[in-house]
């Protein structure tokens, strides 16, 4: 039996259909889209088609609102740097404490070296944004608001459509890092006030190294690379044609499978989540009461450490990930779980399972068969765990929940 890959928020497999569409663009249609010959012509047609497919997935009004980039990090950087350059008198950014490092590291840099004031809005224990703090931070000094659509670690969804309206009211641009949301939940940009959106191909079965930035028509965009006229001069550099074509094909597939994400993938996730919580006591579901992505569940197993859990799961053929310090190479647990004020007793033992439409019920079965034994084994080693409280602790839990 092959391994159960439940780490789709980290990255996904390129599906065979996507790969098949890409292959001719390496060895047959290898022309430069800018060239005036048949090689170039077929390439520019393929790029135009892919742009339309991405446009459809995010519900953009115009296809020229899609700029192809190298992925989420580049898109995030372009959005924020462009917004600041475009509004030199606005010297503030609003973001949240649970953003991806692509946003947080850039904001820290801008704060330190460019004197930009960064408002980092906190979240509560369920990962919900502090709306009062958000409103208090909004002003005509804010150049851009950047808030993620869905959190990579917990799957918690921010109400970005509503948040964007509030930003618009003070004349600030609104950007959303939707890398985890696109392809998993419906996105219809033309009916929102969102000005910019980042997406990344490898999160929905396209290859790594390709992504896009949506820039609403009329939004002032300041290119951050200087070069040729590709992407209407907004992102110079010869197009990554195989990547773009792959992104388009993956976008098309994702759009067609969107209902399946809401039904079959969600059902698998729910069964996994409920099953683990039923079988194992002293667990906490992260952002459990918030609206979440249909594919993600993060469960904290108290009194044991995440890396140890992952090693055991991996040996049993299950690939998941952890917010724990030890597995990431840093020494502190995830900034997201800490921002949510999750106690250390639990944050160190948080495990994320993220599914995709490529998973099956057999994967869920395997998790449910494997996890209780792994947790019991590690808790047996833990000085913080007492045997008498093992499975029955469930009965006691509601008291302190």
């Amino acid at each position: 039996m092959s391994a159960s890959y439940l780490d789709n928020n980290a990255t996904t497999r390129v599906t065979p259909e996507v790969l098949e569409v890409m292959l001719p663009f390496f060895t047959e249609q290898y022309g430069n889209g800018s060239s005036m010959h048949s090689f170039g012509e077929s390439v520019s047609r393929a790029i135009r088609r892919a742009r339309g497919q991405v446009q459809a997935l995010v519900g953009a009004e115009h296809d020229h609102e899609i700029i192809f980039t190298s992925g989420g990090t580049e898109s995030d950087n372009l959005a924020i740097l462009s917004a600041l350059e475009g509004a030199p008198r606005r010297r503030e950014i609003i973001t949240s404490t649970v953003e991806h490092p692509a946003i947080l590291a850039l904001c820290a840099f801008l704060e330190k070296s460019k004197g930009i004031l960064v408002h980092r809005i906190g979240v509560d224990k369920n990962g919900l944004l502090d709306l009062e703090a958000y409103r208090a931070a909004l002003s005509d000094r804010v150049a851009i608001v950047s808030l993620m659509w869905a959190n990579n670690e917990t799957g918690a969804i921010f109400p970005v459509e509503a948040l964007a309206e509030e930003a618009k009211a003070v004349g600030a641009l609104f950007h959303t890092d939707a890398v985890q949301a696109v392809g998993k939940i419906p996105v219809d940009l033309k009916s929102t006030a969102i000005d910019m959106l980042s997406l990344s191909g490898h999160k929905f079965h396209a290859p790594k190294g390709i992504g896009a930035l949506y820039v609403r028509r009329g939004v002032r965009f300041k290119p951050q690379f200087k070069g040729g006229q590709q992407e209407r001069g907004r992102r110079p550099g010869t197009e990554n044609t195989p990547g773009i074509v792959g992104l388009g094909a993956a976008a098309d597939l994702a759009l067609r499978h969107l209902p399946e994400e809401q039904s079959r993938v969600r059902a698998m996730r729910d069964r996994l989540e409920k099953g683990v919580l039923q079988r194992v006591g002293s667990t906490i579901l992260m952002a459990g009461t918030s609206e979440r992505l249909p594919n993600t569940t993060t469960i904290a197993f108290e009194f044991i450490e995440g890396e140890a859990i992952l090693l055991h799961l991996s040996r049993a053929g299950i690939a998941a990930s952890s917010g724990s310090a030890c597995s990431s190479g840093s020494l502190e647990p995830s900034h997201v779980l800490r921002a949510m004020d999750i106690p250390f007793t639990a944050a160190h033992g948080a495990i994320r399972f993220s599914l995709s439409r490529e998973n099956s019920d057999a994967d869920v079965d395997r998790v449910l068969e494997t996890v209780p034994g792994v947790i019991a084994k590690l808790r047996g080693l833990s000085p913080f765990w007492s045997e008498s409280g093992a499975p029955q602790a469930e009965a006691f839990k509601p008291v302190y929940a």
């Binding site: 408002h119 450490e305 080693l381 000085p383 913080f384 008498s388 409280g389 009965a395 302190y400």
Partner: protein, 333 residues
């Protein structure tokens, strides 16, 4: 993915000497749940010969922490205490065929636990660590004494290495200046003793603390924004324990906590739990605290209740969570 040796994997997946040693007469506890790893080492020592006949461990931590703990027990069984004290963290790492540099602190934890257990057996308080050296890294409870030992035992000459071996500086990094001072001081002493060359010794300013955390990616410290007055960096509160402390609760709750304060702390934690028990017609009162044992009396509906053991373990977990150290809640009649 860490590049663990086969030996590390073997000792992680099938740890030797795991569990509680009921008749241990030398116990060392280091680390805390807040820090992400903790180890309780239990030894049975023949008082006449001082030979360690049995050793067991309980560990909260990652793969290499569990493997290091198990390796430690294998290394000490059969040795005399004096022999065992000769072991360094490097011996533990060598036994396992090496550890990734970022994981060397797991072997240091084993070393510290052994020192603590021997001190416990001999009735020596080794809190002089704290007296001779101030607490430097508050995030991970690392003091000067521990830093100096790690630097000397492993010939460390860079800030990154010190962080990998001790965790010091892996959190908020407000301790950077003192961390650097300690490394400079110890390296200078090592140069004058001829242990390392002048060229290898750390030079002040050689490391820019702003680069410190870029590598780890995820844990970039987030500074407070202007508007939301929300604390982002959560340094474990002062009541959280410093690692490598000998007697579990006695030293650990806080370096500066008196006996009385500690008991009050436990008392107030139990008071917080009582309303929940009372809601179900039960109750719980604190009888006494002896070392790491918290003696409580269950009353009301709790008496004779099938779930009493679960209640006790719930109270215990709640206390552990609050205090951050292993302790046992024991019901008394």
């Amino acid at each position: 993915m860490w590049d663990y040796t086969d030996k590390v994997k073997e000792y992680f997946f099938n740890p030797k000497n795991a569990g509680v040693l009921a008749d241990a007469n030398a116990v060392g506890e280091v680390g805390a749940i807040a820090c992400g790893d903790a180890l309780k080492l239990m030894l049975k020592v023949d008082p006449a010969t001082e030979i360690i006949s049995e050793a067991r461990f309980q560990t909260f931590g990652c793969g290499s922490a569990i493997a290091s703990s198990s390796a430690l027990t294998e290394l000490v069984i059969g040795r005399t205490l004096d022999d065992a004290l000769e072991l360094t963290n490097q011996d533990i790492a060598d036994f396992l065929g090496g550890l990734p540099p970022e994981k060397m602190h797991c072997s240091v934890m084993g070393y510290e636990a052994l020192q603590a257990a021997v001190a416990n057996f001999r009735g020596v308080a080794i809190d002089d660590d704290h007296e001779e050296g101030a607490l430097i890294c508050k995030c991970f409870g690392v003091d000067e004494g521990m830093l100096e030992r790690a630097i000397r035992n492993n010939n460390l000459t860079t800030i990154e290495a010190v962080t990998s071996y001790t965790k010091a500086g892996g959190g908020c990094l407000t301790c950077f200046d003192r961390l650097e001072e300690t490394l400079v001081k110890v390296n200078a002493a090592m140069v004058s003793e001829g242990v390392i060359s002048v060229a290898r010794a750390y030079q002040p300013g050689a490391f820019d603390p702003r680069d410190a955390r870029n590598k780890s990616g995820k844990s970039k410290p987030v500074q407070l924004g202007a508007a939301p007055a929300r604390s982002e960096i959560r340094v474990p509160p002062a009541t959280h324990p410093a690692p490598h402390v000998v007697s579990p609760l006695a030293e650990a709750s806080a370096p500066r906590m008196t006996n009385l304060q500690r008991m009050r702390f436990i008392e107030s934690a139990i008071e917080e739990l009582r309303p929940f028990l009372q809601k179900d017609g039960g109750d719980c009162e604190l009888v006494d605290v002896e070392g790491d044992k918290v003696l409580v009396k269950l009353t009301g509906a709790c008496v004779g209740c099938q779930m009493a053991a679960v209640t006790i373990s719930g109270v215990q977990q709640k206390l552990v969570e609050k205090i951050g150290l292993p302790l046992r809640v024991i019901p008394v009649k």
